[in-house]
Symmetry: C2
Subunit: 222 residues, 2 copies
């Protein structure tokens, strides 16, 4: 199945345990799945990372803010949207970090990152790592893709799910890890692949642990 064949999901079905007050659109692949597209339509505040603004604008939208180091925005958009441009020259941070810091400064506390996967895979790895780094500063920070949602979590938590939903649990330093409501029990994984390809057995599941982990909830149900 190609990215463009991803089936549409019911519009009233939410995959995140919160309603975002802002979206960061990064410059990976522009979403095609209905859920991230809906987040782009319905979230009140959209920050685009530099080059991502070109794509967002070409889809008929106007970003609330465009943030980056200025090397990817088209000359035309640079002129048209100069009232909502924030160029940060700092070469030590990438555009996603700049967007995250901007939203923190504006007191947004429930943020979703879109367009952070696809294209170069080293950017995908870096973006996931930034998600884990910055989520403690927010009430909720998550990443939504065309295939599922990444939710960083600290300590024990119970999650709503659909029975048979495909789930992966990536350990980022958590200990004493165990699970309820997953087909394969979770433990203190030391390697990323060990927590992949799990699935829920009911309408909720729990992870018990101390520390940080990253949950991936695929839209797929088996």
């Amino acid at each position: 199945m190609s990215r463009n064949d991803v089936p549409l999901i019911e519009n009233n079905l939410d995959f995140l345990p919160f309603v975002p007050d802002a979206v960061i659109l990064a410059d990976g692949e522009y979403p095609v799945h209905e859920y991230p597209l809906r987040l782009l339509r319905e979230t009140p505040y959209i920050v685009c990372c530099d080059g991502a603004a070109n794509t967002f604008i070409s889809h008929g939208y106007i970003p609330n803010m465009i943030i980056g180091d200025g090397d990817s925005l088209s000359v035309e958009n640079r002129m048209l949207y100069k009232d909502r441009l924030l160029y940060v020259a700092d070469q030590e941070t990438n555009d996603l970090t700049k967007a995250i810091r901007f939203l923190l400064g504006k007191n947004f506390r429930n943020v979703v990152i879109l367009g952070a996967t696809g294209k170069r895979e080293d950017h995908t790895l870096g973006n996931i790592s930034l998600l884990m780094e910055h989520f403690p500063c927010f009430l909720h920070l998550a990443m939504v893709t065309d295939y599922g949602v990444f939710i960083p979590v600290c300590d024990s938590h119970t999650f709503d799910s659909r029975p048979g939903q495909q789930v992966s649990v990536f350990n980022f330093g958590a200990c004493d890890m165990r699970s309820e409501g997953l087909v394969y029990p979770v433990r203190d994984f030391s390697r990323l692949w060990e927590g992949t390809l799990n699935e829920t057995s009911g309408s909720a599941f729990s992870i018990f642990c101390k520390g940080n982990y990253l949950l991936y909830l695929a839209y797929d149900v088996k």
Copy 2:
């Protein structure tokens, strides 16, 4: 730029420091970039992970071996290619691991993994983690995508490059890390994002360290 707009590269330009004797085609996105497509055409032995065989066959090829747990191959292909099917019922390992173990058993020692990224991002993370787990058993094991190549490395090494080639260095437990020939110096990074977005300053660069790291060489040159 969408995945399908990736520019073709010169046919005589190699991005890997070895010539593979076998390719594993995993069931992520089927490659569109000329370099992985050339590896599929020219490598003498192709192992397809289960569902990936459907796509490979639909492109006019015949895999040398199809390996998996049998849940994704079409009924028609299951009949047609039953002489080259290896079903491994083990639920503890995924299809990529089964293919890696099979090639090790057959004494292939220079192997490239294709189709291991795209689609579900939890699979991408798991596949990269499996690359780091298994590369010490091979002379060379690498992952080639539509955007670049992942090369796992142990200890110090010098690599050929093109000036301005985009490079990321992911630390998987290496220590005393430093670099020559990269624009931004490398150190003992503890977070994945810290090693991203580097680039080469000349026609070769070196990483000095003790331990394992993962190199990403993008096709991009800036």
